[in-house]
Amino acid sequence: MSDSIGTEPAPLVLRRVTVRFGSFTANDAIDFSVGRGEIHALLGENGAGKTTLMRVVAGLLVPQDGTIQIDGRVVRLTSPLDAAAHGIGMVHQHFMLISTLSVAQNVCVGIAKAGRLFPNLSQVARDLDEIGARYGLHVDPHALVGSLSVASQQRVEIVKALYRGARILVLDEPTAVLAPQEVEGLFRVLRMLAAAGTAIVFISHKLGEVMALSHRVSVLRDGRLVTTKATADTNPAELARLMIGEDLVLPQVDGKHASGPVAIETRSVHLRDEFGVPRLSDVSLAARSGEIVGVAGVDGNGQQQLAEILAGLQTPSSGSVIMTSPDGPIDVSHSGPGERIALGLSHIPEDRHRTALVDMSIADNAALDSIDRPPLARWGFLSHRAIRAFAARLIAANDVRCTGLDQPVMTLSGGNQQKVVLGRALAHSPRVIVAVQPTRGLDLGATVFVHRQLLAQCAAGAAIVLVSTELDEVLALSDRIVVMFAGRIVGSMTRAEVTLQRLGAMMTGQTA
């Protein structure tokens, strides 16, 4: 439970680990240790330095300063192979699995133990069954990874680490992809592993989970270690204060139901992906002017596809998308984003690097979807002066911290990049806003800013569809909440009707 039992050295000890990216210090002289059989939670806001620290442990980053000790011996980890050789197993947020291979094949990729050229798969399968029986980690060794649920794939990752001899297990936000019931299952497994002597580092920013699971908790903030405490000696309120550093209040809506006219709706939308797999089934969703409709659900249950269909990046296989223009409803099912933008739609996409930003200057990115609007361009010719004026207003209004309009947008921090995307999306008083994970990766200050902007647009009469896997965010902003599971909308309720039990049940597919 503590640093060491008797004189036995702790499996993993970090001393004054420092990681700098240019002038930015991501980890500032951090001391951290985890003992045999201990679950040590690493808590912090997005960007506090948790992931950086664990990349050091995983051998993906070499710190500029500080030491790493495994079982009391100083080691230098320069690659994931080094880390694995020292008994460190990582379960990343994004699984490192090959979906077209079986579980057993995935487990023995690249390791000599199973036989390098012709792995003995039946032996591997027996070993996996044995590990599964010991820790309650049952996975079918012959199943194709791609056919497994997210929770099962996570179990595969854990089994893979154990099979490779992990004595120190690091899990990076493992619950982010799980439904509430599945979280309990994961916790049971982790407790059994700890009881059997595995040292576990549990990275999270969810206080409840940390309180429920861990023996000790360390809080990071702005790259510094704020405290390390026994979990029994602290409480969620204290941890929250330590994590955030100040008492910020999330904006709250009053829960009054807006009843403007429907601004955008989908009618019985079905979508099959390029492989013919159904991604959306019979999705009907309407958003009215002046309301925020929250789309909740565990990541990967069709929210992304729904958002793309609303934004015009995908065409539904059947069903229709209707937008209301001043002249009445218009079927936009087969129109691209251009037509919808003309009708007042704005899209804040989930993946800003893939869908929103271009490797150009801040000014160019700010003007990206306004480039045809006078005065930015007239008769097809750009006015660089007007573009710069427009961008200057945008970065001032959205408090984008930058060295100037000509700074490449990709060199901005994530929060400031998102402010550019948000400012651009809200620049022309949109009538419909499709916001997907609008605060992912942002610190609390930036999150509050984004939330205030969305609420202001809503008050001004925009219809907002907010897709988020952060329940806190959905609950804080939405007038109405729909829950998606396996490509369907399994429930819809007003904010007043929401209970966590109901929400949790719906997120695992029960249409309660």
Partner: protein, 358 residues
């Protein structure tokens, strides 16, 4: 030049531009350096050889005129490939577009010999442009409609185009004498006036300069060029911003084909005065290198075209003066490509190391 204007309005582009200029210059110097080692290995003096090369390329009015003349088709094919690159696509079919454009222009010139020059020249230019554009558009449609990779289709279309032109030159369009695979000579009113008296350099070079300036304005001062660049960098973001990605990509294929077709026209009216089977010593392919070395920047393309033209024109002088085979210039061209591309690899390696080790 409107670069100063661009520098005022878009300093970041200017800064990025100067970094690219340094990287291109470095590539050329490294290539010449390796070339010098080869010359030493050959047993000659690099200084003598390069001095002869420089003299042969730029040392007299006549050699300068020959170099600039050679730079005309390279500028056009370089621009053609630049437009496609900027839109995030590849046009390796400039060679075929060049042959078809040249043939179409020649056919018009021979079919309407009595037309006065102010009508005939535009008609020939239009024929070269339209035919080059259609041939390029074919690859564009194949890509956008069927997902056929334009790297493959444009190269394959080259063979079809060049062999088709061979057929025409041995059949319907062959000169009356009927010995060589070539057309009749174009009449005088189809040609360009000379630019430097007593040399072959003609007004086509002014058209090349005009194309460079127009391309610069199109890329940096029109919303079409802005969208084109956005599509080239991130087509999904462009779609999300409401751009008509299909139409703009097709327009890039079209304009690329127009420019490649014009390259063929220039070579016909400026050099050969008729369509011949071996019109181009690979201008369409060298244009790829020109575009790369020019960092897909129109003025850079012009500079790279003149440089490569100089290498090609000066090579024979070098051979006579120092005994170093003129094929060395081909090696130097290849090395330039390696170093330009290698420059990008250096960035990749540095970025990778920066990720691993802050």
């Amino acid at each position: 030049m409107s670069t100063s204007e661009a520098a005022n309005s878009a300093p970041s582009a200017a800064i990025a531009g100067s970094a690219e200029f340094v990287s291109s210059l470095l590539a050329v110097l490294l290539a010449l350096g390796v070339g010098a080692i080869l010359i030493i290995a050959w047993g000659a003096s690099p200084l003598t050889a390069y001095a002869a090369l420089l003299d042969g390329a730029f040392g007299s009015w006549n050699s300068l005129a020959e170099t600039l003349l050679r730079a005309i088709p390279l500028t056009f094919t370089g621009l053609a490939i630049t437009v496609a690159f900027r839109a995030g696509t590849f046009n390796l079919g400039a060679e075929g577009q060049l042959f078809l454009g040249a043939t179409a222009a020649t056919w018009i010139g021979l079919a309407l010999p009595s037309l006065p020059a102010p009508l005939l020249i535009p008609a020939m230019i239009a024929a070269a442009a339209v035919v080059g554009a259609l041939w390029s558009l074919l690859a564009g449609v194949l890509k956008l409609r069927f997902g056929a990779n334009e790297l493959i289709t444009t190269i394959m279309l080259n063979y079809i185009a060049i062999l088709f032109v061979s057929y025409l030159l041995r059949g319907p369009l062959q000169e009356a004498a009927g010995y060589l695979p070539q057309t009749e000579r174009l009449a005088a009113n189809a040609r360009f006036p000379a630019l430097i008296a007593g040399t072959r350099l003609n007004a086509g070079f002014l058209l090349a300069l005009l194309a460079v300036v127009l391309a610069h304005i199109a890329f940096w001062h029109t919303s079409w060029g802005f969208k084109l660049r956005v599509i080239g960098l991130n087509a999904r973001a462009a779609l999300n911003a409401g751009y008509n990605v299909t139409a703009i990509t097709l327009s890039a294929f079209l304009i690329s084909g127009v420019l490649a077709g014009l390259a063929g026209y220039m070579e016909v009216v400026g050099v050969q005065r008729r369509m011949i089977e071996n019109l181009s010593p690979g201008f369409g392919y060298t244009g790829i290198i020109v575009a790369l070395l020019g960092q897909t920047n129109p003025f850079g393309v012009l500079a790279a075209a003149i440089l490569f033209a100089g290498l090609q024109v000066g090579g024979s002088t070098m051979q006579t003066a120092s005994g170093v085979p003129s094929t060395l210039t081909t090696i130097i061209q290849g090395l330039v490509v390696l170093f330009v591309i290698g420059r990008g690899a250096v960035d990749l390696v540095l970025a990778h190391r920066a990720k691993r080790q802050p």
